[in-house]
Amino acid sequence: MLGFGELCLLGAFIASGFAAFATLAGCDDKHRALEKSALISSAASLVLLTLVMLILAIALLTKNYQFDYVAYYCSQHLPWYYGLSALWVGQAGSLLLWAWFLGILAMIFRFASSRKSDTLRQRAFGLLMANTCFLIATMVFAADPMARSVGTPTEGAGLSPLLQHPAMLIHPPIIFLGYAAWAIPFALATAALINKRFDTTWIQQARPWALFAWAVLGAGILLGAEWAYEELGWGGYWGWDPVENGSLIPWLLGTAFIHTMMTWRRRGIMKKTTVALAIATFAMCNFATFLTRSGIFSSLHAFSQSPIGWLFLALMLVLALAGGILIYQRRKELAPENQITSAMSREAMVAMTTVALLLLATVTCLGTLSVALSDALVGTKITVGPPFYNNVLAPTGLLILTATALAPLLRWGSTPSAPEKRMLKISATVGVLTMMGIVVGGATHYLLIAVTGIVAFAVAVLLCSLWLDAKRRPCDNYWASLVRCLREKRNQYAGFFVHLGFFALAIGIVGSSLGTQRHEVSLMQGQTIEWAGRSIQLVDIVDRQLPDKLVAGAVLEVSRIGDVPVKLTPEQHLHLLQNEWTTEVAIQSDWSGDLYMILHGGTEDGGVRLTLVDNPRMRWLWLGGLTMLLGATVSLWPNKKAARQNYNQPAEFSEQPQGLKAA
């Protein structure tokens, strides 16, 4: 099996390499004949990669310790699903998964459109195959998933207990799917640059992939935060750790890219920015891999040292350099067709948001690299803490929130009409009144006041915009008009729905980070305390033995004053194989906030020691994330009519259906 797997991997390497070469060469009219063989060899590389995946998966399921990889991540008592998840826990496995995803996506990309293959699509496909070949090369030369164990182990080292969590079953593959998908907008942008074809064809093709990649990467980041929150047991969900930052940076750039694509399509401006963002987003996906695997960082997760990281850094630098040169050479073709005529227009908001997102991404990148940068520049290693990031997140976040809030009542290319201006004033009043309301209600922190005000303003703007839009489409009754305008402008309102999710996310982040409080407490059996508006009683202390671990838990009853009590059981697990304790927290969650409980251990007099954390508004964060995902899904849902309307009409008119000029 091992030898066969090794052969398959080598075969996939050669096939994908040939496919990349033949596809790119086949773009030239003289070498059309190569196209078919390119397609066959790319299909072959996908089949071979699938075989390697299957071999490794079977080895993990049957716990075949001849595979070094299996011996390293599996053990006898590990449940089969965690055994399978080891496929993406280790380095070699995750590279394999990434390459496999990329192979599949490239095939879908190649065959998704019914249109005959054009040079743009073909070049992009060639670049995707080149990327697949790169990923397989890293496995062949540096991290072989098919490596043979030294000796014949009878028991594996086992999966780290911290990674035995449901979120870890799906978080890594989702992140890698996101990284793989970002390759497609990049490939299209680069193909357009090479082809010198700067109409909106490439954007039309890149849009669904960018949305997909954005949503998938976002979901991955959200799951990672969820895992950190539930498993790491320190009461928070985001630590500005290099691993987290690594996936956040491409997501921020990707968000900007999705918006600048629209300004290109609607107004013919920000073209260089759009192309640069497409390349940068993909480059930063590779950079994230460098961060986690180069070993230049000592963070909680990124501790390892391997040559893989440097390969990815090299790829990133090549991309940045080649992209920069290409954009410079095509600067004339990429010149803007229009000017931004009004600061109160959608393109102005996109420009502002792009600046804010870029700043945030740059600062995150600088902070992540602070140790390496300070060492290189001043010879002392310096790390920066969360205040560095948070200080930047606050103003840029407020700027992005404001721009996002305004968007529904603004237009592409002109100032708002009179009714829109009136609605803006009404919404602003709502926002200001809300701010005054919560100040009277006792809020003191400027961020809390500002965010609440902006969110109220944003919701008002969205409702007003819906009302104006529905009024422009007279039907039998108001609801029918509303449905009609939602249907006709589905993509736009799906976008605004994503924005709503963003507002909920902002509430969750601000609420939980400003209002969080901790309390360390020792409780005796039967004792009740009152804390953070809840009453908490220790009911029982329990011990259990499972095949692979010992479990000690405290059973507590928690109720908000006057409510039905809820049972919570924070635990400590002793994993026998690793002889390692892990904390299993218990969380009681409702719309006003989370009570997060960490059990530390027993006291000498028979009680328990706990840390209680109150995280207000945490649910809003998850709600926001899910809303954003849902919005993106709606936006991605195939809609032939809308696609025709959006792309085949001159940009100036696509904002409103024909014959329905502003009311």
């Binding site: 826990v89 990674l163 390892s304 931004i340 310096i382 205040p387 840029t396």
Partner: protein, 129 residues
Amino acid sequence: MTATQRLFLGGVVITFATMALAYLGASSSWQFYLTVDELAADAASFRESRVRISGKVARDSLQIAPDRSQASFVLQGETAKLNVQYTGLIPDNLAEGIEVVVEGRLEDTGLVRGNKVLTRCASKYSSNG
């Protein structure tokens, strides 16, 4: 002034303001990142500053208070040693012989007063994986 110019000016202002805020945030939170040996070699210049030190918890040195709110241990480098007095949440897997990162302040006496201990998260991407 055209809209483009206004936006450009706005962008410049925002960029500088953000960078200034980032600097303020960094200056209130930065730490010197050192190994035990690097710190011991140049202890005088790091006195009373925030440090983040990586090293190994020495054998037979770890003492954890019964209520697990405090711990003291010797942090060992290649050659040098450092006494650490730590107050705060103690990680589950803090033990003798493991690699840790301690954040805190270096006192005049040469003692490190720690307020955060990070233990190596069990290999996620280990070099031989």
